[in-house]
């Protein structure tokens, strides 16, 4: 087995240390400005990556981060594991029973908040293919990706915004959370199909990709979830706890990820579904989830988001036209879909618009989706930068817009 040399070891460790500290410093700075932590983490990557440090001091940047190939591969492996763990935690945060229990308003908001941006994204992605720069030539997969990226929402950003505005327990808050969960669930299933289409086209057809995706999700969410739930008390009794939960849950997540990667789907999908199955167990407490979540979101998430700045030169690949197309498509599609759904569900104009803006926040999930699409060569770097900007702008917009639309009437909003 080959190992990293002395200098390669130092390079990897140094990179990790610098990335974590820079992510925290920039993240906290942007948090103070009432922006999501992820914005600061991304900017830390831009500062340390080829866009700034690499541009002005290429020698320093090369020495620290990409001095040799082996160190870069090791770092890339850690980043890949980070994405898997991030999706696992995102899955744990999904609440299947909340989705099942949703009332008429939440249901119509979920459905329209998904279908309208998905359809608009697909149509513009397919018929306006040239508007998005140089991307995959598989127009259907590309258009499906644009649709999916428009349909997804960022649950943690939304939850934080609702709490800050004291809207978490209102009817509007509940609808936003439920619809965001539903959109994420369907969004990641769709994305898995798209990646499967690209990866698996040489081995199996679209029909098999669909069958594998739906089959895996169904089996894991029913039988898998049942066995995980049943085995939790046994594991708790026989293993040190909650330490055992940390290793077992992440172990299962990696096994699920390996399995889906093996059958031609993306590894993240396996981890995401395992996350839902584990998070749904009645034996998994908030504290146990918190342990995993803190570990992943404070170590691996920053590494991942900082690394994005290393992969892409944001300054070189910024394209105003593509950014505007993506931004307008995202905002118009999501807000109109969610607004229509909420209106059909019996909410007022202002409440429906507020729900639209709430669901419009894309946050970290959108960025993960985009980086995976970039890695799969489904999109080019120009479009990637545009999607990242869209994710940041929509997340930053959500709070002030919800505040403007609902805050003066917060006392009168029906509580759930």
């Amino acid at each position: 087995m080959s190992v990293l040399s002395h200098s390669e070891n130092i390079s990897v460790i140094l990179s990790l240390g610098l990335m974590l500290i820079a992510a925290r410093l920039f993240g906290e700075f942007f948090r103070k400005l009432k922006m999501p932590l992820v914005v600061g983490e991304l900017i830390a990557g831009v500062v340390l990556g080829p866009s700034l440090l690499g541009y002005f001091y290429p020698n320093i940047s090369t020495i620290i981060f990409t001095q040799n190939e082996h160190a870069a591969i090791a770092l890339s492996g850690i980043i890949n594991i980070s994405i898997i763990m991030l999706l696992f935690v995102a899955g744990m945060e999904l609440n299947l029973s909340l989705i099942r229990q949703q009332g008429k308003a939440a249901f119509s908001t979920s459905v329209f908040g998904l279908i309208i941006p998905l359809a608009m994204g697909f149509a513009i992605g397919y018929f306006g293919y040239n508007l998005f720069g140089e991307n995959s030539t598989d127009k259907i997969a590309f258009a499906l990706f644009i649709g999916t990226s428009m349909a997804i929402s960022a649950l943690p950003v939304i939850a934080r915004t609702l709490l800050d505005l004291n809207l978490f327990r209102t009817k509007v808050g509940s609808i936003i959370i439920t619809a965001a969960m539903f959109n994420d669930l369907i969004g990641w299933i769709l994305f898995s199909v798209i990646i499967g289409m690209l990866k698996g086209s040489a081995h199996h057809s679209l029909l098999f990709t669909l069958l594998y995706t739906i089959g895996y999700a169904l089996i894991m969410l029913t039988a898998g979830r049942f066995f995980i739930n049943k085995s939790m008390p046994w594991a708790e009794k026989n293993f040190s706890w909650p330490g055992g939960f940390l290793s077992l849950s992440l172990g299962l997540a990696f096994l699920g990820a390996a399995f889906t990667e093996y059958i031609g789907l993306h590894a993240i999908f396996g981890a995401f579904i395992i996350g839902i199955s584990i998070g749904d167990s009645v034996h998994v407490t908030e504290k146990m989830k918190d342990n995993v979540s803190q570990f992943v979101t404070n170590i691996f998430a920053p590494l991942f988001f900082v690394s994005i700045g290393f992969k892409v030169n944001f300054l070189n690949h910024f394209d105003l036209q593509i950014t505007l197309v993506v931004l307008i498509l995202a905002i118009v599609g999501k807000i109109s879909g969610a607004y229509l759904g909420a209106k059909l569900g019996g909410l007022s104009n202002k409440e429906s618009l507020a729900i639209g803006f709430g669901l419009n926040a894309r946050g970290a999930m959108e960025i993960i989706l985009a980086i995976l699409a970039l890695q799969a060569k489904l999109i080019g770097e120009d479009l990637f930068v545009a999607i990242v900007i869209m994710a940041v702008v929509t997340s930053v917009l959500a709070g002030p817009m919800l505040n403007w639309l609902l805050k003066p009437k917060a006392n009168t909003i029906e509580t759930n």
Binding site: E93, R100, A159, F168, V282, E286, Q294, A301
Partner: protein
């Protein structure tokens, strides 16, 4: 809330000619005596002379024959027929025997009691161990979740507890940890997250206090407890651990179907493995 709304004026008892039939009638007698209710015995199935005579004999034995008791025999689908009878006769409480736990196939496709509990438009009492010499309910555990139906459920629970001479009831506030988990994102400082959580709990506590302030509890001691976990599951577990003899829950917001059993939530956790007798309170105001 008027006194009229707080009583079970008409009680229907779903009768099957099983070994527990006699015990069910004994329980019905106790309920009738406690709430001064009219009783309607319902059996769905072909009428046979032997069964008819047996039922009449039991009713006579428990001194239930008279103007306040009615027997209905119908043929058809047991669940739909019983539900229809309940609606036609404006039944306030439907009583049926139920196994603590059903086999997996029966659970998913539905035993009669559980199907009734998911669809009934009136309150329903599921008796896991009906007794020939019933003692009533002494240890009641009641749902105290922040929900529009909870006020009615607590009022009803207090009345039942007082009617049976219970000394205290436990009201359980279940904190949906899935929602609370969202608070603990990387965006929050620990204290900030705790403050948000505390504020949410305080709001719920205030609402419960207000409900209790408006409820005539008499000498009854009300114990409230907050438990974090999945709603429905934690209260069932609490009832089992404390060996309660009656668990009182709000009725589901919408009819439950197979998907609710596959992806269980709330009352389905209790129905999947009944911890004790279960009373589902259907608030007519919330329809």
């Amino acid at each position: 809330m008027s006194n009229k709304e707080l009583t079970f004026q008409k009680i229907a008892i779903a009768i099957a000619f099983s070994p527990r039939c006699e015990a069910m009638i004994a329980e019905a007698k106790l309920l009738q005596q406690t709430f001064h209710s009219q009783l309607v015995f319902v059996h769905v199935g072909k009428k046979s002379l032997q069964e008819e005579q047996y039922l009449k004999h039991l009713i006579h034995r428990f001194n239930l024959d008279g103007a306040t008791t009615k027997i209905i025999w119908e043929v058809g689908d047991p669940v739909e027929t019983i539900l229809q009878i309940c609606q036609e006769h404006k039944i306030d409480l439907l009583v049926a025997g139920a196994l603590e736990k059903e086999g997996i196939i029966k659970y998913f496709f539905g035993g009669i009691s559980r199907q009734l509990s998911r669809k009934a438009k009136c309150s329903m009492l599921m008796l896991t161990e009906p007794k020939i010499h019933p003692t009533g309910f002494k240890h009641l555990v009641v749902e105290g979740t922040d929900h529009p139906k909870t006020e009615y459920t607590i009022a009803k629970a207090v009345e039942i507890a007082r009617a049976f001479g219970s000394k205290s009831i436990d009201i359980i506030q279940e904190s949906d940890e899935n929602k609370l988990a969202l608070i603990r994102s990387e965006e929050f400082k620990e204290k900030e997250a705790d403050d948000h959580k505390e504020a949410l709990h305080k709001e719920e506590d205030e609402k419960l206090k207000e409900i209790l302030r408006c409820t005539d509890c008499g000498e009854l001691i009300i114990k409230t407890e907050r438990i974090e976990g999945k709603p429905g599951y934690v209260i069932s577990k609490f009832s089992r651990d404390k060996e309660a003899d009656l668990l009182i829950l709000n009725s589901p917001d919408k009819p439950m179907n197979l998907l609710d059993r596959v992806f269980p939530h709330d009352i389905e956790y209790a129905l999947s493995d009944l911890p004790c007798n279960l009373l589902i309170i259907h608030s007519k105001d919330s329809e």
